[in-house]
Symmetry: C2
Subunit: 353 residues, 2 copies
């Protein structure tokens, strides 16, 4: 159950135009009279708005009795504009490249023009949701009061890109893929893709300790099939590739006007930022966010301890979910940074889209 916000003639960073672009979203709770309780929570790779619901609900950090939570779906995820649901010529392999900034620009219009929100009390997200969170903080310092990226980074590291390219190589190798013009789903390719992912999504000790038993799987092989393959087998291959492309190119310093200067990009963030990398994350390792936080005026890093690796951010492990929930509560109750050097920078750097 979700709504669609249509953006007629939506021009992408690539120059291509989606007419319209369709942004699927769901809201939880109500905007208060002073319009000060809006929280934006973009989705992760191959997820949708329901993927975020473990952190939303009565008694949870994002309590809809208190907050107005907006969850926009990532372009390419099959609900928002995607290869699988866009008419020719932008269907399937004809779907244009989409950037994190394209996502944020569409979300900005949804939030401001459609939902009447001018300030965001918090932007948060996991993994590709974290990439969007950082981009929001850089593109709209005037709107974002707090940001909580988890299991992510302000830009996709070169190593992470190598991982992404290996996923792409596995998926597209399937003869059934036919350059993206497949008539039947390239299931063998998606299974190989899932097997590559399986090594990266959790940490080495997750497998040593057989933590997958906590997810109901009796063996490693059952876990790889029942969790990883099952998670991706129903996805459209071109959708997966579209999202991979968005992920691989993520970089807040590529925002127009910043000339690829990552320190300047991070230095322009005025929000209070609490980044939560996971201790054993293999493709968004904590050092990415530690390095970034040095340049964010009100930036802080709290490492999610444990062996779940990247999937610590999934909400599936109760201990990790509780850690994230507590951090969200803390940040929501923390004061917004006072005007200072960062605010001064903000004046120099108005909204960058």
């Amino acid at each position: 159950m979700h709504d669609i916000y249509e953006l007629p003639g939506f021009r992408l960073d690539s120059g291509a135009v989606l007419d319209p672009a369709r942004l699927a979203y769901r809201t939880y709770g109500e905007l208060n009279a002073t319009r000060t309780n809006a929280v934006l929570f973009p989705t992760w790779f191959a997820g949708d708005h329901t993927s975020n619901e473990w952190l939303i609900g009565p008694g949870k950090a994002l309590d809809p009795r208190e907050h107005f939570v907006i969850v926009p779906n990532l372009f390419g995820n099959g609900l928002s504009s995607s290869p699988s649901n866009t008419p020719a010529p932008h269907d399937a392999a004809g779907f244009p490249a989409i950037t994190i900034r394209d996502n944020v620009r569409a979300q900005h219009r949804l939030v401001t023009e459609h939902l009447g929100v001018e300030r965001l009390k918090l932007v948060l997200g996991c993994s590709m949701g974290a990439l969007q969170t950082y981009q929001w903080a850089v593109s709209h310092p005037d709107m974002v009061e707090r940001a909580l990226p988890f299991c992510g980074a302000p830009r996709t590291s070169p190593h992470n890109a190598v991982f992404i390219e290996s996923l792409r190589a596995a998926l597209t190798l399937d003869a059934a893929f036919e350059g993206g013009r497949y008539r039947t789903p390239p299931l063998a390719g998606i299974r190989a893709f899932a097997r590559v992912y399986a090594g990266w999504g959790f940490s080495q000790p997750f497998y040593w300790e057989e933590e997958y038993r906590r997810l109901g799987f009796a063996s490693r092989e059952e876990f790889v099939r029942g969790f990883w393959e099952a998670n991706f087998i129903g996805q459209d291959a071109n959708n997966l590739l579209a999202m991979l492309g968005t992920w691989q190119d993520a970089d807040v310093s590529a925002t127009p006007g910043l000339d690829g200067d990552i320190e300047r990009a991070l230095g322009s963030i005025t929000a209070r930022v609490v980044a939560l990398p996971a201790e054993r994350d293999l493709y968004f390792p904590p050092e990415d966010e530690v390095r970034a936080a040095r340049h964010i005026p009100h930036g802080e890093v709290r490492v999610i301890p444990g062996i779940w690796g990247h999937m610590a951010g999934s909400g599936a492990n109760p201990e990790d979910a509780a850690f994230i929930d507590a951090a969200v509560r803390d940040l929501l109750s923390a004061p917004v940074p006072a005007a200072g050097p960062a605010a001064g920078r903000r004046a120099e750097t108005p909204a960058r889209l």
Copy 2:
């Protein structure tokens, strides 16, 4: 330039018989009159005896003026018996599964029956060479005085197996593979295999720091093609799969008589062991060897510092090569453990093949 030792009617752990099995090897230096200077240095995945030569030579830790260095080639590597060089019915996809113990058993016959060596001053090896090193120490406590496994472990961890399975999934997905009965090499599969490997072989900061420039590559993509793809593109696909199988099943506790008891297996090692895991190794992480060393009576771990990850053991990085060279020198000059509890155990556990 290498020699071949033939083992007629060589029975494998699987029950299959290679008649003969052919063990390719090269020796460096001469066995001294007292037969006390022999060093065994098995090879790694997809390498051959020349891959080990960076540590062998005048002035190096393995100086052939002083030591008699024996380098046996791993079964499946294309020089020893392999899918690519064995007659039907054991050719290509018909090649039988080979274990680390099969390799060690063949090497034991080469060393004792052919080369007249009864004691090994040192056994050492990197990665799959380390798997063989541990197996030697467990199977032949009466022969192995010192062992130096680097970038390896006494058994392949479950996470490592997930990585291996992803390599296999990528390689065999190529339609040209044809279940191993390919007529032309499945090059696209090998390239995908190489791309998966690229994310695992080095650490995350290796890519951040663009360390590949030290190997002569100007960009990440050039590195993935020029190093990873180039490294594997000339290999036979079935050979790669044969070695992957050997790697995946490695486990010293599966040695007959040990009933899968890893602590007992490690406790039976009488050699002085110095294990060198690499600090950022993503598939043989240091914790594997730290955990193992607790149970080895004369076991010690020295972590190779730095960001080269698994490839720290390749010899390609001068700092890592110097670290390993120094550790080998140290161990060669260290005394052999005195008879004690470990020797007592040795008496209880004679050679296990």
